[in-house]
């Protein structure tokens, strides 16, 4: 009988284990610095993004309990007119070689973005994350952040779709480190379900649409490339 209140108390205590600190000693790194430098761009990596704020976070969380975490901001920088940035910070002893520790930890470089204006793949806001960071190390990280555009799918004859018929539209967006990452998202349409329009896509760069149709048991695939302006809602007519 006494166990239950004790467990309840532990739950309350553990659920409050979230703390956030700003590490000024790290920010004004006096030596043995870990450095991230590079540039942030959009439009397939061709247009530099000025004024993007980047934060470096160290997060420690309890691997098995998951009740809370502590987060320490290690550095902050803002991109210049050419999209360049320079983040430097000092690693503390407990932040070194975090892989495999029971109290697991990670470093993340996270841009502070207006999420309505930038295309964020699968809600992953970090542009870099790692368990293993060392002092006296410099990383070069050039990263493409697409801006957001929209595709308004206008399916002309959806009433003709039968049970088992479907259309899957795969939207492929180039982004990420050195613009080498492809973020693919699939949207499905059937007789009973239609993904709510518009679809979110990247602006100012070619975006590959792969359209897979299943009609009367026959599968076909076609591809198209579209380009939209930031914030534009491009009508896209599709016939089943």
């Amino acid at each position: 009988m006494k166990t239950f209140p004790l467990l309840l108390l532990m739950l309350v205590v553990l659920s409050g284990c979230t703390s956030k600190d700003d590490d000024f000693i790290s920010k004004y790194c006096p030596g043995s610095c870990t450095v991230f430098k590079g540039n942030i761009a959009t439009a397939n990596g061709t247009v530099p993004l000025a004024g993007i704020k980047l934060n470096v976070y160290w997060r420690s969380y309890q691997e098995y309990l998951q009740f809370g975490y502590s987060e320490r901001r290690k550095a902050v920088a803002t991109t210049d007119q050419d999209g360049r940035y320079d983040l430097r910070f000092l690693l503390r002893e407990e932040e070194l070689n975090a892989r495999g520790q029971i109290e697991n930890c990670s470093f993340r470089v996270v841009p502070a973005l207006d999420e309505t204006k930038y295309f964020i793949c699968f809600d992953e806001k970090a542009i870099f994350s790692s368990y293993d960071m060392q002092r006296d190390t410099t990383f070069t990280l050039d990263y493409t952040l697409p801006q957001t555009g929209f595709v308004d799918i206008q399916l002309q004859n959806r009433q003709a779709m039968q049970s088992g018929d479907k259309i899957i539209i795969n939207v492929s967006v180039k982004s990420g480190e050195n613009n080498n990452y492809t973020c693919s998202t699939a949207y499905s349409f059937s007789a009973s379900y239609a993904y709510p329009s518009p679809l979110i896509t990247a602006a100012l760069q070619p975006v590959l649409l792969t359209i897979n149709k299943m009609k009367n048991g026959v599968y076909t695939e076609t591809q198209d490339t579209i380009t939209v302006a930031p914030g534009e809602r491009l009508p896209y007519q599709l016939t089943f």
């Binding site: 600190d21 000693i25 006096p30 030596g31 610095c33 430097r88």
Partner: protein, 222 residues
Amino acid sequence: MNKLILLLGMLCLGTAAQAQDTLRLPSLLSLHVGTALPMGSFSGSSFDKESPAFAGEGILLQLTYTHPITSHLALGATAGFRANPFLQEKFQIPGDNLVQAIESTPWKTGYALANVQVQVPLGEEGGFYLRGGVGGALNRAASLRVLTPYGTITRDAETSLSIAYGASSGFYSVVSNLVLGFEVSLMATRADLTPINPTGSTEKYRQPLHSANLSLGIGYRL
């Protein structure tokens, strides 16, 4: 804040219109001692800012001379000094084992203002006043030195000149030739600073150094 000052001004002027024209306040020399509470980014410790000021509650010393022109209007001058400590406890994580030693000097401002004062006599024993002033300030930024096993973090105490503004309101009571008073004031100035950032480059910026002050004064009727 602007509305409050305007309201106080209207109150003083309205009351002054009803006061006796013949009652003329004496020339006063007063020394005020009080607390200076940093306002806005002067008290800031934002990580996002390149060099947040980290200023804490400090001291204020102010010498003011007032000479009446009419029963409701006076001219005068103020010379003041303000010192606000650098808040080391906000700069470092509590129990920070990277910090082997930390020392800092406070933000300091010396200033001189030429004043215009609207005053409302309350008999011969005292009165209320509203004062505005403009002048110059000599500012010395806080310095910081943090010793760590990996090197030393330093922030130099830069010196700069700036235009300063003052606004104050208070009351005083005359007892024989002695004057006792209480004052609420604002002191506003901005310092141009050029700190050296961790990469070795410099970035010029303007640091507001505004404070709200509360002080008690003692003076002499001349």
